[in-house]
């Protein structure tokens, strides 16, 4: 292998359990965002746009969709003979297999992959965030400051700082202390989970720490260890748009921000494009009686009804007389004529029968998962079916191919759930 200056390791194995039914069958990085994209497209596109052409993607939780999406890396021009993208799944070593038990443990288990490229620097990323960032500028900073570790940080409001991993730094941004979710934060520099390490230093720390902890983690173990050993560690301040879409509400809100006339996060500029797997891109058809306002609508949609304040993924059909408001409809969903949807998220490939109403009634939190569904958003899982004329309230969850018998009096009150365990068909 030809030596690489810096390679990226992208942690994409997390479930993102607060996204509820959206991550039943999919790892969080594969969850669609902004119509045609998936969350992982943002760090992947950042890599290639920054000139990082070797990316190891560490998968673990429900990797099927992610594997298919990444393939050999064609959408990001990461299909390379030297480098490119490699999917790194947990594997059997010696007598037994081992899961990735922590973020640093996952990197530790792939030491050999990194060694092949013998890089000077390793960039650690997570596949959970929406942002555009030039990692090459962070690397310049890393070299200029002669760092062992550089951690990208965001200045968050002080009152929210206790929700983040906080870097306490001197005036010149040299970090002297790291605190995970401190009750009394001393600083508002929140870690974005983006690190550049000098590879030789990181390797040493990984090998050492994995003897001590069997769930070795960057925030909990590696960063404190390296600080204690007196390594040079700087905070790299990032001032642009960055969103963690970890909950149903924040996921919905981040999508909705994109439909503003001048959104904070601009997908329409040419010099820092976001790439995604979309080989087949038929045009989008808007029917004679359709009405679309303040929305994002992707390729291959056929819209005959009304769409307001919504984000539609590719190949969604919206039938005549249907109304979609304040909602996110993902790839390949079919919204039959006469449906009225308010504030809902409908995952890929779902079908809504005629005259289905979603989002009516009061704002009772979900009775089974009150912490996940409590902001009035109803979520329908992937490849689900809702039969004709059903009325669904707020904070509901529907998953599976439901039929009339699953709805008393043809309705599901706010906070209700219909979750059918998927039959495995051979």
């Amino acid at each position: 292998m030809r030596k690489k200056e810096m390679i990226a390791m992208l942690l994409a194995g997390g479930q993102g359990s607060r996204l509820g039914v959206l991550t039943f069958n999919t790892a969080k990085p594969a969850v669609p965002f902004g119509g045609k994209y998936r969350i992982i497209d943002f760090p992947m596109s950042n890599c290639i746009n920054s000139g990082v052409d070797t990316v190891g993607v560490l998968t673990q939780y429900q990797p099927l969709l992610l594997n298919r999406h990444i393939g050999i890396g064609i959408p990001w021009d990461l299909d390379r003979r030297n480098g490119g993208v490699t999917i790194l799944a947990p594997h059997v070593k010696g007598a037994q297999g081992e899961w990735y038990t922590g973020t640093a443990n996952a990197i530790y288990q792939n030491l050999e992959y990194i060694n092949e490229y013998n890089p000077e620097y390793v960039l650690i990323l997570s596949g959970d965030h929406i942002y555009k960032m030039d990692y090459s500028r962070m690397l310049d900073f890393h070299k200029k400051k002669k760092c062992d570790v550089t951690i990208a940080v965001l200045e968050v409001p002080m009152e929210e700082a206790s929700r983040f991993g906080i870097m306490n730094a001197r005036e010149d941004d040299r970090i002297y202390e790291f605190e995970e979710k401190p009750a009394q934060p001393k600083s508002n520099l929140a870690s974005m989970g983006i690190y550049i390490f000098a590879w030789d230093k990181l390797k040493e720390a990984l090998i050492y720490d994995n003897k001590l902890h069997d769930n070795s983690d960057f925030g909990k173990h590696i960063i404190p260890l390296m600080l204690n050993n007196g390594m040079t560690m700087y905070a790299y301040r990032f001032k642009d748009y960055w969103k963690d879409v970890g909950t149903i509400e924040s996921y919905w809100a981040a999508n909705m921000e994109l439909i503003r006339t001048l959104p904070d996060f601009n997908l329409y500029e040419d010099f820092w494009k976001i790439y995604t797997d979309a080989d087949h891109q038929p045009p989008l058809y808007v029917g004679p009686d359709a009405e679309i306002k303040t929305s994002l609508v992707s390729e291959g949609c056929e819209v005959y009804g009304a769409v307001r304040n919504s984000v539609l993924g590719p190949e969604v059909s919206v039938g005549e007389g249907a109304t979609v408001r304040d909602s996110i409809i993902m790839t390949g969903c079919s919204i039959s004529p006469g449906c009225v949807l308010d504030r809902c998220i409908i995952d890929e490939g779902s079908e809504l029968g005629r005259n289905v109403v979603i989002g009516c009634g009061d704002n009772t939190p979900n009775s089974d998962w009150p912490k996940i569904y409590d902001t009035g958003i109803t979520v329908i899982g992937e490849h689900s079916v809702v039969p004709d004329n059903v009325r669904v309230g707020k904070n509901c969850v529907i998953y599976g191919r439901t039929a009339q018998e699953h709805y008393q009096n043809g309705s599901l009150d706010s906070g209700g759930s219909v979750v059918l365990v998927k039959e495995v068909t051979i």
Binding site: G34, I274, P282, L284, A290, V297, G300, L312
Partner: protein
Amino acid sequence: MKAIGIILAGGNNDKLGALTTRRALSAIPVGSCYRSIDFTLSNMSNSGIGKIAVITQYNSRSLHDHMSSAKWWDMGRKQGGLFVFSPYLSNDNSLWFRGTADSIFQNITFLKRSIEPYVLIASGDAVYKMDYNDVIEQHEQTQADITVMYKNVEDEDVCNYGVLELDETGRLLEFEEKPLETHLRHISMGIYVISRTLLINLLETIVGEGRYDIVKDIIIRYRKKLNIRGYLFSGYWRAVNGIPEYFGINMDFLKKEVRNLFTAAEPYIETKPKDEPPVKYNYTASVRDSLIGSGGIINGTVNHSVLFRKVYTGENSCINNSIIMEGTIVATNCYVEYAIVDKEAVLSDGRRITGTREQPIIVPKGAVV
């Protein structure tokens, strides 16, 4: 696969006026996101043809750009794949292609190095979808030397096409190119199946005699000597051979059955992806019965039109019955009717551009109006 493919994409057609002064006919944008060559190229790939030569000549830059990678059509192969041939200079030969047959003859090595028994020759400027295995099967069954694909047209003017007269068994009797007057209703689609070795022999013979055209010097001249047969194609097929046809093809994509043929049913027609974001509709947008390409930002009114990728329409602008190509900016308070606006044009505030259904007005590429 039993055949290799040759796409004749070198033709010049001045009937498209400003649209083809700097663009090969095969690279003309169609249906909001495609270019005309995508149809033949995808058909070949989808039919299992694994080795394709595209022969270019006029304004080949646009085609080379479009086909800078073959992977979108699954043609990035070690075995076979996509070959793009242009005229070149050498010590004993510095000729442009003198005709369709000559353009293949000058690349005859491509034929000689292949092993497949048949060659499928098609032009790169027609919009249609077909499985070529059907015509190859008929070609074998009828033991034809050459099979010419044709289409029946009842009420259209056929004077822009080659017309065929067949006997009751389907054998070619007469072929007339662009007839002034005719009662014949079979038009040639410019798609031929021929055995590879026969093609090599014919090309070497006719070019030696100073003849360079497939239609005139092979099909017509050899119609009695060889067993040339017709293959009837009954699906949607239209060639881009004039402004009204070009306008009509694009408007056909607004019809569900035409659109679905290409975009909803597998195998799909593939094109070079451009990674544009979804279309953004702002509050003042009003779009009816139109196709909108990705990356567009819509503030104005769009009716019965085809917008390609990355078109911006400003507030209070109205676009009716028009084709707006990639990257065009229509500023505020514009009125556009029956127009074909080529790529990256800019219509500044308050412009009115109106043509007629019969004669759409053309705004050339990059023009600032």
